[in-house]
Amino acid sequence: MLEIKNLQVSYGAIPALHGISLSVKAGSIVTLIGANGAGKTTALKAISGLLKPKTGEILYEGKNIAGLPPHHIVKLGLSHVPEGRMIFTNLTVLENLQLGAYLEKDRRVIRRELEHVFGLFPRLQERQPQLAGTLSGGEQQMLAIGRALMGRPRLLLLDEPSLGLAPLLIKTIFEKIVEINREQGLTVLLVEQNANLALEISHFGYVLETGRIALSGESASLRQNPQVQSAYLGG
């Protein structure tokens, strides 16, 4: 579904990604793990168009989307849940969700998606009229994911959903990610620092080190890899 070939991204003169290649199969959860500054977020931003890649191809369903503006990429069914959630804090929960379906004109579809998101995150239904900025961190993350789902994506890019959340909440969020993947067959590309959890729920994993792919493989086998264990799993 997504095929990245030799992607290079720089911030000004400073290179962040030195040509990475990876692929995401339809219907799977693929994770990109690595330390701070490894280039995980940069990779996601380049895919969703928030950053312009220097060179390389990003093939989404066979089409090269590298360098397209983000609002074009969203139209193709690719939703990005940015790091740090980036919800619209001065709008209500409901308005945030409606903005997620910004490109959808059919009100019935929007209502159906809203029901679906509320089914997934009942807490959001209770908080509909509340300003999003007054939600707790976990609720904001739910809102960010729900907002992305409102656009009915086929590929969901999740950036650090566990950031700053209590362990119990992280578990809930990850369970929801698995549920969305299993029940709707939504393909997920997950960027995480919490390598343990990420490898637990994903099918395939890539380890990013200072802008290069250091390792890749089935998530189950990566978890057994001594290198990964010592560097990321605290073993």
Binding site: G49, F88, G151
Partner: protein, 308 residues
């Protein structure tokens, strides 16, 4: 203000405007002219609120757009002699629209290159633009240069002033409260997240600038035909600032609040006239006190003044 309120406001203002314009000859003309000022300031404040309040940009060049509209409309109507009321109405509306259109063009011109700028930088660039416009008019001998331009017709009356004000309020309210318009609020809150939702921030910012500038141009046309004499100095930096003050005082992104602030700030200096030279000191002091007491805006009572 939701869209139903906006429609009621529109019809109410039109009806009131018509009735009062019929009876206008019975009013004290000093106060009559102040009511025109109120309407003109409402248009300016509401249109700037679309740019500064709802879209989260910071423009300090609103007087520049107003100048474009004022000079355009004045030059057009000066071509005509005395006309019967119907012909005058047609010429005046055409001139106002032309002034608005040219100002909107100027808005587009400023909007596109400045889109990459935010906050302070955008404020500086728009400030510079406003001054450039003023200096251009100052050096254009065809429109009187620094001596100013006499406007032959005093066509601005209650009907025109409040009709245009109602139209401005209606358009801004309708724009912001549509599904499309929620994009303005999204761009204000978080541009990156907005583009991740499929919103094109560039388009929203340009739209805000163009629509805002259009109404500033219309306000300029009304101003020219109310005062019947315009000078480049009337559209200086202080004029831009006073519009910004109305928006901030009313509460950024709060249409009702901004309207009330425009009314209040037009009347306040008039009421302070008896104390003569202390007037502007007291006016400034009042502003400082108001801002300290209600930084969120004088008329913002919920955090999001009129989200619904």
């Amino acid at each position: 203000m939701n869209i139903r309120h906006a429609k009621t406001f529109l019809l109410g203002a039109l009806a009131l405007g018509f009735l009062v314009s019929v009876a206008a000859s019975h009013f004290n003309s000093y106060w009559l002219f102040i009511t025109y000022d109120i309407a003109i300031n409402v248009i300016l404040a509401v249109s700037l609120n679309l740019i500064n309040g709802y879209t989260g940009q910071f423009s300090l060049g609103h007087a520049g757009f107003m100048a474009v509209g004022a000079y355009t409309a004045a030059v057009i109507t000066n071509q005509f002699g005395d006309l019967n009321p119907f012909a005058a109405g047609a010429v005046f509306s055409g001139a106002l629209l032309a002034g608005g259109a040219l100002a909107a063009g100027a808005g587009l011109l400023v909007g596109i290159p400045t889109l990459r700028l935010r906050g302070d930088y955008l404020a500086i660039v728009t400030l510079g633009f406003g001054e450039i416009i003023r200096v251009i008019f100052q050096n254009m001998q065809g429109v009187g240069g620094a001596r100013g331009l006499s406007v032959a017709h005093g066509w601005t009356d209650f009907f025109w002033a409040f009709g245009a004000a109602a139209a401005a309020v209606y358009v801004v309210a309708a724009l912001v409260h549509s599904t499309y318009g929620r994009g303005f609020l999204a761009v204000r809150d978080d541009e990156v997240a907005a583009s991740a939702m499929g919103i094109n921030p560039v388009r929203y910012k340009v739209t805000a600038f163009v629509v805002g500038a259009f109404f500033a141009g219309v306000a300029g046309g009304l101003y020219a035909h109310s005062k019947q004499f315009i000078t480049p100095g009337g559209f200086n930096f202080m004029q831009s600032v006073s519009i910004v003050v109305m928006v901030i005082l009313g509460g950024m992104g709060n249409t009702v609040g901004v309207i009330l602030a425009a009314v209040l700030l037009t009347l306040l200096p008039e009421f302070l006239r008896p104390i003569a030279e202390y007037r502007m000191i007291l006016y400034s002091l009042l502003l400082v006190v108001l801002m300290l007491a209600r930084p969120q805006g004088l008329f913002t009572f919920r955090k999001q003044g009129d989200a619904k």
